[in-house]
């Protein structure tokens, strides 16, 4: 099926800034601006960067049984959420494979699920398929929602003058509704970079004025527009998984390093029986972090070797702009998943030495864990 690429409400802004537009998850997205991926990465680590992530999908669930539906569909325990709180979670197939990873927001009279753009249609069909058994309405607001991510140690200092919402009181993975630069927004203290920051959900018409107001407010603090290229290297330095690279329907959360969000005791949910069985039988393969101890650039799809045999595959890799060494994630047999286990990564015609390393690779981030 050929489908024309969609544009986010900020497409013209990206082009005017000289953004290099690439197809990503069905959208024209900026992979970088003229400053380049490394400079944008450093800006987010040391000052701040502004991302357009409007391609993400947003579903709003309302009704007396919205929580029951979410509990059935997701592996984490959404009943623990207070109003104004966000939770990282995943949806699984009955066989345990991951349909998608997502964020669950608990609002006053609604729940919001934020899903990957590449999975949005699949996710919506899955949610609707199960919604019929519950007293709940499901509204796909993806096309009516723009999303800007302001990330970096300077993020709060840049955002606060534009809003009356007291950011000091907004903890990590908390959100509130407010007004930013005259624009109604869901202000969420979340992100995908390992730095302090905010994700602002706004109407499509508000996206450009808000972008311009943020860029103006951040000018003296070194705020730069930041593209998908540095979003990838930033998340990888933190060991955050990316669906389609590191996560897929062939692997369960227990194998994929997501046991910490998988609450097998919360009650029934789709995939629970398969996960309980897998836990009992033992995990045979694991998604692990690794770092290269020699020079090399690991990339998605490169083979992992041990004792001359191919034993796994790299799912994501980069030369960390902050650490200056190759880092990544890979599938390996569980017997090779222990910290510091030596591995080889086959990079074209040679094998480069690596060691299993528990993420985050970068530990200097400005996230406030409150």
């Amino acid at each position: 099926m050929t489908e024309s690429l969609k544009k986010t409400p900020l497409y013209d802004v990206h082009v005017a800034l000289g953004g290099k537009m690439v197809p990503f998850a069905g959208f024209h997205m900026p992979v970088q601006y003229p400053a380049g991926i490394t400079a944008e990465h450093q800006a987010v680590r040391t000052r701040a960067g502004l991302f357009d992530v409007s391609h993400m999908g947003e579903f709003f669930l309302r009704g007396p049984q919205a929580l029951d539906l979410i509990q059935k569909l997701t592996v984490n325990d959404a009943s623990r959420l207070a109003v104004g709180q966000v939770q990282y979670s995943a949806m699984c197939l009955p066989e345990g494979g991951i349909i998608d990873d997502l964020l669950v927001y608990r609002g006053t009279d609604y729940w919001m699920l934020v899903v990957n753009a590449s999975n949005k249609d699949k996710d919506l069909a899955w949610v609707l398929r199960h919604a019929g058994q519950f007293d709940v309405t499901v509204e796909d607001r993806s096309d009516d929602t723009a999303l800007l991510a302001l990330q970096g140690p300077e993020a709060a200092a840049i955002l606060q003058p534009l809003t009356k919402t007291p950011l000091e009181e907004l903890g990590y993975y908390r959100f509130g509704e407010g007004v930013v630069a005259g624009v109604e927004a869901i202000i969420s203290r979340t992100g995908y970079t390992g730095e302090d920051g905010f994700e602002l959900y706004v109407s499509p018409e508000s996206a450009e004025p808000l972008w311009q107001a943020l860029m103006e407010a951040g000018r003296d603090r070194g705020l730069m527009p930041a593209g998908l290229g540095c979003r990838d290297s930033l998340r990888l330095e933190m060991g955050y998984a990316l669906y389609g690279n590191d996560l897929d329907e062939e692997h369960t959360p227990l194998e994929s390093g997501l046991a910490w969000i998988t609450k097998l005791q919360k009650g029934d949910f789709i995939g629970r029986e398969a996960l309980l069985r897998q836990k009992e039988e033992g995990i045979r393969r694991r998604l692990v972090g690794f770092r290269l101890t020699e020079r090399g650039f690991p990339r998605h799809g490169y083979p992992v070797v041990a004792d001359g045999a191919e034993v796994g595959v790299v799912t994501s890799g980069v030369v960390s702009p902050t650490l200056g060494e190759g880092i990544g994630m890979a599938w390996v047999p569980a017997s090779l998943a222990e910290e510091d286990t030596p591995l080889g990564i086959r990079i074209r015609d040679k094998v480069v030495a690596a060691r299993v390393t528990k993420p985050p690779f970068y530990r200097g981030g400005s996230i406030r864990r409150s």
Binding site: G36, I37, G229, S233, G296, V318, V319, R348
Partner: protein, 129 residues
């Protein structure tokens, strides 16, 4: 629009040959257009001095954040020097592709092979600029 200096020779794969002070010896690197497309260069793998390559044979690789690319030898010849400065600072390929970002110096075997390369006007036309 990328820089395409006069007086250099170019390949359709975006390498250049630039005359050195020594007759028959050329600097080889990648063009401004190529570095722009590649984005930030992270590593450049270069051959040993004395290595010989045939025309359009890969002589090295260039690792950028987004992708890895082979470097093709524009004409057959022998490597007489490699730019070791790129080990410490591969971003020279981005900042000064025709100057400090050169990769190897090549002693050309067959001057007649140079006739197959593009001049600045032809390379610009190839890029559609």
């Amino acid at each position: 629009m990328s820089q395409i200096p006069e007086g250099l020779l170019y390949t359709e794969e975006h390498e250049y040959l630039k005359p050195s002070d020594e007759e028959g010896v050329y600097f080889v690197g990648v063009t401004d257009y190529a570095q722009g497309e590649l984005g930030d260069v992270v590593y450049v793998e270069l051959p040993e001095v004395g290595a010989r390559f045939g025309k359009m044979e890969p002589f090295g690789t260039i690792e950028a954040v987004k992708a890895v690319s082979d470097l093709f030898c524009p004409v057959s010849g022998e490597v007489v020097e490699v730019n070791t400065a790129l080990d410490d600072d591969p971003s020279l390929v981005n900042s000064d592709p025709y100057g400090e970002g050169w990769m190897i110096k090549l002693r050309v075997d067959e001057p007649a092979e140079l006739d197959d390369l593009l001049d600045a006007t032809a390379y610009r036309a190839h890029l559609g600029e």
